[in-house]
């Protein structure tokens, strides 16, 4: 039995082989869903035009605008104005590309527009057992459904547009087991920051991760998406969670999901996907959720993270010269001293948003904590919903009024200050607590300094003006 036992990843991989790997060529993998956005696709469409090629399956392709789009409020005509001429040109080119090649597009200002990794699950397009790609490294998000989903470069975007296939070598597998139960005030974001702090920013290179264990099972789909989203921050191109009833309930009734008897048949199939008993992984890591407290990063990559009550590590205590140099460089950029605590550190900006933490449950959690409180004097807080649908839902629930009453900015949907391409950015030297996924130098604006954390930790910083353990403000009775 054990000899034939397969992992979730292997099952999905095997289902999509168009042509197996040979000594001379990689495997050719069929792609079920291709998501495209304005920033990483123009050169791919140019290639298609140059060679006179069509998009093979526009009905398996969906475009949205998210990276360079403004999130500033609509004008009196209900239009979200793009002030950046180069971004405007890129958006116009993208619109033309989608029109010319017959690809459905969620354009800026329309009802379904949003971050590419928010809209797929929202519409029910993201389903277990699928292969999903996008010219964006956070495509790993969709792995939360038991899909094999990963980011690709622009050349590969061209390959998928033209052929609906990709050339891929089979990656290795890593089991990431998270047992135990999270304490109140500790979230999915803290789990993934804890995992990346453990394996390092390159520890998952060459692997597909499968997250498993009691703590993962207990998470909502949105929490699982937060975790899979940041697989790439540990170097893993993809992360997956086995589908279960939580998954099926989330998908049921969504527009692109199978309906009625078709849905029942799909669920029966999806139940065969989880990793078989005894299936082998190439590597395994574990994390105990019982012991986890809110996490925060102190450095300039997502692997530089620690418990929020910890102390900034000392370069002199690092085992190798390279690590000393890297940590010293990071602390210089961050303006932090070795061995200092982060609790109590003054901050300037709080960003709640991004494909990591901009879904309705993130906004509900943030709103619940900020309700009746005020953003501290001198702090700017942006709340950027992941999609127009999330924004509309939040407004139906009155969450926008809670954020606005607290003094936060309520914005249109997009990537916003996570990638700082659209004008939403930090000023040089500013400190931000962000719910996004990357704290690289300049990521949120040239010279800006990022502490990555959960939405709860972000709100706690917003209302106190300093880095604060959210458990001090958390009221479990309201949970």
């Amino acid at each position: 039995m054990a000899a034939h036992a397969k992992t979730l990843f292997e099952k999905v991989w095997d289902r999509h082989i168009v042509r197996p790997q040979t000594p001379d060529t990689p495997a050719v993998l069929y792609i079920d869903l291709h998501l495209v956005h304005e920033v990483t696709s123009p050169q791919a469409f140019a290639l298609l035009r140059e060679r006179g090629l069509k998009v093979r399956r526009p009905d398996r392709t969906l475009g949205t605008m998210d990276h360079s789009t403004p999130t500033t409020p609509r004008n009196e005509l209900g239009i979200i104005p793009v002030v950046d001429a180069q971004a405007q040109k890129q958006l116009e080119q993208f619109t033309k590309n989608c029109q010319d090649f017959g690809i459905p597009l969620y354009a800026l200002g329309t009802a379904k527009q949003g971050i590419v990794h928010v809209i797929g699950p929202e519409q029910g397009l993201t389903q277990p057992g699928m292969t999903i790609v996008c010219g964006d490294s956070h495509t790993s998000t969709h792995g939360a459904f038991g899909a094999l989903a990963f980011g690709i470069g622009t050349s590969e975007v061209g390959h998928v547009l033209a052929t609906q296939t990709l050339l891929q070598y089979k990656p290795k597998t890593m089991a990431v087991r998270v047992d135990g139960r999270l304490m109140p005030g500790v979230t999915a974001k803290d789990i993934i920051l804890g995992i990346i702090a453990k394996i390092g920013v390159g520890g998952g290179t060459g692997y597909v991760l499968e997250y498993m264990g009691e703590a993962i099972r207990a998470l909502s789909m949105e929490g699982r998406m937060t975790i899979c989203n940041m697989s790439i921050e540990g170097g893993a191109r993809a992360g997956m969670v086995a589908p279960d009833d939580t998954t099926f309930e989330y998908i049921a009734g969504r527009p692109a999901a199978p309906q009625g008897a078709d849905f029942d048949r799909a669920v029966a199939d999806w139940r065969t996907l989880p990793t078989d008993e005894g299936a082998a992984f190439d590597a395994e890591v574990t994390l105990n959720a019982d012991e986890l407290i809110p996490m925060i990063t102190y450095g300039t990559n997502p692997g530089m993270g620690m418990p929020i009550n910890g102390f900034v590590p000392d370069p002199d205590k690092q085992p190798t010269v390279d690590e000393r140099v890297a940590l010293d460089k990071a602390l210089t950029y961050m303006g932090l001293r070795p061995n200092e605590p982060l609790l109590g550190k003054k901050i300037d900006v709080v960003f709640v948003g991004s494909c990591t933490n901009s879904r309705i449950s993130d906004l509900r959690e943030a709103a619940r904590m900020i309700e009746g409180r005020k953003v501290a004097e001198g702090v700017r807080m942006l709340v950027v919903p992941g999609s127009q649908q999330v924004k509309a839902q939040a407004e139906r629930e009155g969450l926008h009024e809670i954020f606005k009453a607290a003094g936060a900015e309520w914005r249109e949907a997009g990537c916003s200050m996570c990638i700082a391409m659209n004008g939403d950015q930090l000023a040089p030297g500013q400190y931000a607590v962000s719910t996004s996924n990357r704290n690289f130098e300049g990521r949120q604006g040239k010279g800006g300094r990022t502490f990555l954390a959960s939405p709860l930790t972000a709100v706690a910083a917003a209302v106190t003006g300093v880095i604060t353990d959210p458990r001090e403000l958390y009221e479990p009775a309201l949970a």
Binding site: P26, T40, A420, G442
Partner: protein, 204 residues
């Protein structure tokens, strides 16, 4: 694409671990719809002052490294985003190869599709190359893709791995899309045997 077989060039050292794609090319330069013209913005925030003058403390700005074609970097080069603008920018700055102990998966794939060779060496060789670049910047190394070797000035050669398909495409100057387009019948057969999972036109 021009075929790549063998070239000789000088080294430039950048001994920093985990150099991410936001350092290679900051996101604000991704609003272009072209591949060309990104060389000036390569390592932009490390390389240029606000007024456009070179930052004196950035090693690649030193005169002895101008025109170097082989970048020797710390571990895990190219981590972060999927932006193919990263290899486009490195090529635009004049590099033809990057040497590291390992590369981020997406970056490595992107580099190979654009004729920028990601050369994986062991830690000891990397350190030797960095020392060589620092102490004798005028010296050159020879990269031979056919033989998969990197030859140092003292004649010593190290071999590097590259998958046979990428190697074939680079040696012959052909891109990978042509191969996939040739499999049209296989793809059609797959599509006929596997029902369509989702239809994006339904949710348009």
């Amino acid at each position: 694409m021009e075929p790549i077989r063998k070239f000789t060039g000088r080294l430039a050292p950048l001994p920093i671990n985990d150099i991410d794609t936001d350092q290679i090319i900051p996101a604000r330069y991704l609003k272009t719809t072209d591949k060309l013209g990104l060389g000036q913005a390569c390592f932009n925030d490390w390389r240029w002052n606000e007024d456009g003058t070179p930052k004196a403390d950035f090693i690649l700005n030193q005169p002895q490294y101008q025109g170097a074609e082989v970048l020797v970097a710390g571990n895990n080069f190219g981590c972060g985003s999927s932006r193919e603008h990263a290899p486009w920018a490195l090529l635009g700055m004049g590099f033809r190869a990057v040497v590291s102990t390992y590369f981020a998966d997406i970056f490595r794939g992107n580099a190979l599709k654009n004729g920028l060779l990601p050369i994986v060496v062991d830690e000891e060789t990397k350190q030797q190359l960095i020392s060589l670049a620092q102490e004798a910047p005028e010296s050159t190394v020879t990269v031979d893709l056919e033989a998969q070797t990197l030859t140092l000035p003292d004649g010593r050669s190290v071999t590097f791995p590259i998958d046979p398909f990428s190697r074939y495409c680079l040696l012959n100057g052909v891109d990978q899309l042509g191969f996939l387009l040739g499999l049209d019948a296989d793809v059609s057969a797959y599509e006929a045997a596997n029902p369509q999972r989702v239809n994006t036109h339904i949710v348009a």
